[in-house]
């Protein structure tokens, strides 16, 4: 059934899904959403994020999770093989039935990060370890590793 579907739909929206005939679980459907916009969305094979208890890696078929995130990088390996790195200011992640939503008040793709602005913010705050400082630090860390 699945094979027929994938051949008839040809170059459908998710050709990768049909190729292995559904024996392997489907791809993850990932959405990275900031408070005022959708930052990234697409299919992925693994998502790695940081919770207060440590790193969490999510692959297809993962049990439903609702977890908090700490400021830092979230890595999404898309089905195309490229790694998308997003800096988040905190927020949370929800996983259910291969739908992953990563919600943060602020989130920026690694390429979008304005290093100078983040450094300026950090310098202004000094050693103040509150949310703004952690967000600036997270962006710098992500920018440094791109």
């Amino acid at each position: 059934m699945t094979g027929r579907e994938s051949s008839s739909s040809g170059g459908g929206s998710l050709p990768v899904t049909g190729r292995k005939g559904k024996i392997v679980a489907e791809d993850l459907n990932v959405e990275v959403v900031a408070a005022d916009r959708k930052v990234w969305s697409g299919a992925a094979s693994i998502v790695i994020a940081r919770t207060p208890e440590g790193e969490i890696g999510i692959m297809p078929g993962h049990e439903p999770v609702l977890g908090l995130l700490v400021a830092g990088p979230v890595t999404v390996r898309s089905t195309g093989g490229e790694a998308v790195v997003v800096a988040v200011s905190g927020g949370f992640l929800s996983v259910s039935e291969n739908q992953i939503a990563i919600l943060a008040e602020q989130a920026e793709l690694a390429d979008e990060i304005d290093v100078a602005a983040a450094q300026a913010e950090l310098a202004e705050l000094g050693e103040d370890g509150d949310g703004v400082g952690r967000w600036a630090q997270a962006r710098l860390d992500v920018a440094a590793s791109r």
Binding site: E31, R37, E53, V65, L66, L103
Partner: protein, 327 residues
Amino acid sequence: MGAQIRELRQRIRSVESIKKITRAQELIATSRIARAQQYAEAARPYSQALVRAMEAAAERARLDNPLLEGVEQPRRSAILVVSSDGGFAGAYSANVIRQSEALAGLLREQGQEVVPYVVGRKGVSWFTFRGRELGGQYVGFTGRPSYADARRIADDLLEAINTPTEEGGVDEIHIVSTHFRNMVTQQVRARRLFPIMVEDVPEELHHAEAGAVRTDDGGPSGSAGSSNGRPARTDVLPLYEFEPSADEVLDALLPQYAGNLVYTALLDAAASEWAARRRAMKNATDNAGELQETLTRQSNSARQAEITQEISEIVGGADALASAGSE
């Protein structure tokens, strides 16, 4: 006579330039409505995911947060009034202020103190002119609010509700803002943001709770009675594993939810503000057009009268000369 025509022409010219300005304002406002709606659209995925996560967490967590659990007898309330920075928007700000005064009156009747938090220059000057004490004032962004603005407001409000009432905190947070229904209808709405009201939860839950509330004899016990309706829905929501725990997740979600509520209210108000401004400027343009027509007509008839008079003077003069010659 000539002076009257000159004056009329001057007025026509000034009306014409006013019309050009209002027309330009109208066009600007029209494009801003569209943009404000785009921002509201862009914020929607976040709101939806947030509400879904809140539901899931609320099902499993203790519900003893001041944002969820109301007190029996609230003594002080904060009202967030969302007005505009600029004028030229008809009765936009006046409507919001009137509604907030009505709400404040209602709350005072119930024996509550009211602390206004005001967004927009118009509102701030209205309140400060009357010597009212403000809990907070926020100006300079009503036409294009950013999430950071909303965050700042939400943080102040949360600080107020988390402070014990004896030390100057508040028990409830209300918001009076304008809802953008469509291009022609905007509606001023007064809502209670916190403690969270029944109407903020989705349909099925709402019905379950409506029953529960009715048996509780309604009122502020609505949010307290909400746990009654929840177990019925466990089959709908996935059984989430909470990281680190449901309580902590909910405690972290609530401030984000507050920020999101304020942000969506600001965006809604911004779209409404531009719509109100567009309408006001359209009316002004139409009026200027009418005035221009009336003035042109007046100036034409004045010109005609002048010509007629000149002719009759010439004819009269010629008659006089002719009759003088014939004598």
